[in-house]
């Protein structure tokens, strides 16, 4: 068949330098793409292949010759002749500080890789003082923009707050939230278009919230769990995982991951079942799966209990 469209030109190649080494990358790629293609290690937190880069965490910053400030490699496109440095003193300093800022204000205990990065960049979060006592529930939810209480010289401020458990499917532990915007993107125009959550407030009091901080069942949430899938820190977690972690029985070394097809509708989403001791604990979908891009609906994400409805012990009369 003869196409009426003109043949598409292959993307042009851009030649530039990373750490003094000449490299090439297709036009339109980001510095991060090029770094990864050339085996350069660049940490990321708010970046995910399947979402629009928001470049807010700033842990992926690199130095570009001629630029007054460091640039986020996740979103800056490569340009011919660009000279990129991924491991300069300035880069290492900013990464160290960003990691310290997060580690000193947020619970990163369930964020993968952070412990290694902290060691690699020489972080010391304790130098900001001991963490402030836990604020009562709702304090952060209702902080008024443009005002804050004077700092207590004995403590460092953190985002610590009680966990929000308002439904049976997943919990929101915003003490672990680094405000990467991923959940908001997944809930909004990037995927689900439910718009159940947004970023509210401002500055250090900025937070992920529903309107007027109402509980999820009163919000526009459809429980697709796509926010859980993209959360990099475990702030959003399916209830079974949360419970198992709380009682100390969550053990990834005893878990297997098995891919299958979701049995509900005709779309045929790939489901990855995370199983421990012959019990399904959660369902995810691979991010590189062309149909789902890591997303599922409420049925695929949470509707697997029937598989393991085991006969309960007969109640004794």
């Amino acid at each position: 068949m003869i196409s009426i469209l003109p043949p598409k030109a292959p993307p042009r190649t851009v030649e530039f330098e990373i750490d003094g080494i000449p490299v090439r990358a297709p036009e339109g790629s980001t510095i991060l793409d090029a770094c990864r293609a050339n085996a350069k290690q660049v940490p990321t937190l708010c970046f995910l292949d399947t979402l629009h880069p928001v470049n807010v965490c700033r842990v992926c910053v690199v130095e570009v010759e001629g630029s007054r400030v460091l640039v986020p490699s996740c979103s800056r496109k490569v340009e011919p002749g660009m000279k990129v440095r991924t491991d300069s003193e300035r880069v290492r300093h900013s990464r160290k500080m960003v990691l310290e800022f997060l580690d000193s204000s947020v619970d990163l205990s369930t964020t993968p890789d952070v412990a290694d990065w902290k060691a690699a960049y020489g972080c010391d979060s304790e130098r900001y003082g001991p963490p402030a006592p836990l604020a009562p529930a709702g304090t952060r939810d209702h902080a008024h923009a443009g005002h804050h209480d004077a700092p207590d010289p004995d403590y460092r401020a953190t985002v610590a707050q009680p966990v929000k458990v308002d439904n049976s499917l997943y919990v929101r532990a915003y003490e672990k939230c680094i405000l990467c915007y991923k959940c908001v993107e997944a809930c909004g125009t990037d995927f689900q278009n439910s718009f159940a959550i947004g970023v509210a407030g401002r500055g250090f009091a900025a937070r992920i919230s529903t309107e007027f901080a109402v509980a999820l069942p009163e919000s526009a949430c459809v429980y697709c769990g796509n926010c859980i899938a993209v959360c990099p820190t475990g702030a959003l977690m399916a209830k079974p995982e949360w419970d198992k972690r709380a009682d100390g029985t969550w053990d990834e070394s005893r878990q297997t991951q098995t891919d299958t097809i979701c049995p509900y509708c005709g779309v045929g989403c790939t489901l990855t079942l995370h199983v421990q001791d012959n019990e399904i604990l959660k369902a995810t979908s691979p991010f590189d799966q062309t149909v789902t891009r890591g997303n599922l609906c409420i049925k695929g994400r949470f509707g697997w209990q029937y598989v393991q409805n085991r006969r309960q012990a007969e109640p004794t009369a």
């Binding site: 470049n55 807010v56 965490c57 700033r58 842990v59 910053v61 400030v69 460091l70 986020p72 979103s75 300035r90 300093h93 900013s94 160290k96 500080m97 960003v98 800022f101 997060l102 000193s104 204000s105 130098r127 900001y128 003082g129 209702h142 008024h144 923009a145 443009g146 005002h147 804050h148 209480d149 004077a150 700092p151 207590d152 010289p153 004995d154 460092r156 401020a157 680094i178 405000l179 909004g188 718009f195 159940a196 959550i197 947004g198 970023v199 509210a200 407030g201 401002r202 500055g203 250090f204 009091a205 900025a206 919230s209 529903t210 309107e211 007027f212 109402v214 009163e218 919000s219 526009a220």
Partner: protein, 613 residues
């Protein structure tokens, strides 16, 4: 759009106020997701002004009418300090606690107010109200209100069918109590006359306190609309050529060549183009744009019309900070009169060129003075700065090419067109052409806005303002605002040009010259600046969101005599935090949040004794 809304009803009065706000003219060309959403902030402001806070009912009505998801609208509402999502008093007094007012007694005033009227409203649990007289009132501390020439200052808002907003200068507790009780006339003190009023050497300020700011005829009698007439004769390319030849640099703080910016917008094939005047003057210590907008509003309207003609813009916005009610009134009057005379709208002056504009009010967010944050704010999104590139000339408001300029920059163009670019370039120095407005405040005899040709030194300006007041001995001068630098008495001969300050590692910023005499303790000033940046950070990027907190905490530890590991260790911690904010923040707010602190610590050696250096 299928929205899940809260089960709450707006009252009839809230609905009426919101409906009235939505009657505003719609900017030409805003379509798709922008078609209604850009009215979100005006609608929220209308609800707030009607009853003093935004109820769930009013909020839900706005979301339904504009088809904005509630979680997103909530994110927008809670971004602004002047919007309140919890019940609050109908009368609110915002008392400035910022540096210029602090130097002139704001701390004592606030302490006295606390004794007289109880704690500030942001400490009062939602629903509680403080009673004074027969109506409920509340007070809040406020960042700089742009009335530093009349410090200490306060901003009063009274909600109602005809909402009242007014800025008060030279406030005392008695006057504040009068204002809170509704006796505004008793609280009022006349605005000081422009110190240089009528001086024939003035260019930008020549009509201020000379011509009637409410009269178009008086404006024309003083040379008004001469520049636009010439521009329409010589054509847009010639206008840009004159502006380029004038070597005019932006006066908002970044000093970008205006001619280059305009040329880039004019050449964009994508249509429509938008023009934005950045009138969100919120840099602590800055009040020059207010002086122009209150004193010569037609000049800004003419300059914007001219700029729009040169850059082929179809529609314009003045993004005005919410705390400037008199400037709003004067500009709105000027727009209405210009429109009535065919100087705005279709076929301006019979030239075939059409352009119109409207005012958008901010709602208490310093960050919305950042050019890309303005775009988001106008579009109805959170005022978070965007990543650059793309630059505004390519993709600005509504994703279209946008020319965005500061008030002072725009008004400069009138004389450039009237007298030619080279004539303008002959004023000032080689690298800094024209005249510059400076905001003198703090310990000077006659605070106010002063206009001088570039090249004047810091000493010249202070002498122009009557010399050092207070003790008569300078401890420090804050140059360029909270995002600027502190300099000392040794720097008085620094020429205040772009190149002169650069050579001294200082900045002109927005033209702030705030003088502190040697009775002022600088550490509390630094703490206030740190608190300011923490309050005003949008919270988007980690270095600024957390860095501004960590630097405020380090200063608090030093001030409390509890430095961790000694003052020298705290200083190196501050340096480390500051460098990361400067290098890795998204926008200028984070990048300059340590600037003033750093200069006080290192340039003025504030902690010299404590560190044994």
């Amino acid at each position: 759009m299928d929205l899940k809304l809260l089960n709450a009803e707006a009252t009839a009065e809230e609905r009426a106020a919101i409906d009235a706000a939505l009657l505003a003219p719609s900017p030409i060309g805003a379509s798709g997701i922008f078609a209604k959403r850009h009215l979100l902030l005006p609608a929220l402001e209308a609800a707030q002004a009607r009853v003093g806070w935004i109820s769930e009912g009013a909020f839900t009505y706005i979301c339904a009418t504009l088809e904005v998801p509630p979680a997103e609208a909530y994110g927008v509402m809670t971004f602004y300090a002047l919007l309140t999502p919890a019940p609050r008093a109908r009368r609110v007094v915002h008392v400035c606690e910022d540096v210029a007012c602090k130097a002139r007694g704001a701390d004592a005033l606030i302490a006295e107010l606390e004794r007289a009227a109880g704690p500030a409203a942001h400490h009062v649990p939602a629903g509680d109200r403080i009673l004074i007289g027969d109506d409920d009132v509340a007070w809040l501390p406020s960042p700089c209100l742009g009335l530093c020439d009349q410090a200490p200052a306060a901003f009063v808002q009274i909600a109602g069918e005809r909402p009242v907003e007014e800025l008060f200068g030279d406030v005392t507790v008695d006057r504040l109590r009068a204002a809170m009780g509704g006796a505004l006339a008793i609280a009022r003190v006349p605005r000081p006359r422009l110190p240089q009023a009528g001086d024939p050497s003035l260019r930008l300020l020549r009509r201020v306190d000379v011509a009637d700011p409410t009269s178009l005829d008086d404006y024309r009698a003083h040379g008004g609309y001469e520049a636009l007439r010439i521009a329409l004769e010589i054509g847009p390319d010639a206008v840009i050529r004159e502006v380029t030849d004038s070597k005019l640099m932006g006066r908002g703080g970044a000093a970008f060549p205006t001619g280059r910016k305009w040329d880039a917008v004019a050449k964009q094939p994508v249509r429509p183009h938008y023009l934005i005047c950045n009138a969100d003057e919120s840099e602590p210590g800055t009040f020059k744009d207010r002086a122009i907008m209150e004193g010569d509003p037609f000049a800004l309207i003419e300059a914007m019309t001219l700029a729009a003609y040169a850059t082929a813009c179809d529609y314009g916005f003045i993004y005005l900070r919410g705390e400037y009610p008199l400037a709003y009134e004067r500009l709105a009057n000027a727009i209405a009169r210009a429109r009535a005379r065919g100087l705005l709208g279709e076929n301006i002056m019979g030239s075939g060129f059409s352009f119109d504009l409207e005012i958008r009010k901010g709602a208490g967010a310093y960050i919305c003075g950042e050019e890309t944050a303005i775009f988001n704010s106008i579009e109805g999104f959170r005022g978070e700065p965007r990543n650059k590139p793309p630059f505004p000339v390519q993709s600005g408001v509504f994703g279209k090419p946008t020319a965005i300029n500061n008030v002072e920059t725009l008004v400069n163009v009138l004389d450039i067109v009237r007298f030619g670019g080279p004539a303008f370039a002959a004023i000032g120095t080689e690298g800094s052409t024209g005249t510059k407005l400076f905001c003198l405040s703090g310990h000077v005899a006659v605070p106010g806005v002063y206009e001088v040709p570039f090249g004047a030194t810091l000493r010249d300006l202070i002498e122009l303002a009557g010399g050092v007041a207070g003790s008569g001995r300078i401890r420090a001068i804050l140059l360029g605002g909270a995002a600027g630098v502190f300099v000392g008495p040794d720097d008085l001969d620094m020429p205040l040009t772009f190149e002169g300050v650069r050579a001294s590692q200082a900045t002109l910023g927005s033209g702030v010259i705030m003088v502190f005499d040697d009775t002022v303790e600088l550490l509390p000033m630094l703490q206030r600046i740190a608190a300011f940046f923490r309050d005003e950070s949008c919270g988007q990027c980690v270095p600024c969101r957390v860095g501004t907190v960590r630097q405020e905490e380090a200063l608090a530890r030093i001030a409390a005599g509890k430095p961790r590991g000694g003052v020298a260790t705290e200083i190196s911690l501050l340096d480390e935090v500051g460098l990361a904010m400067k290098d890795a923040s998204i926008c200028g707010l984070g990048q300059t949040a340590y600037s003033a602190l750093e200069s006080a610590i290192h340039r003025l050696d504030l902690f010299g004794e404590q560190t044994g250096r």
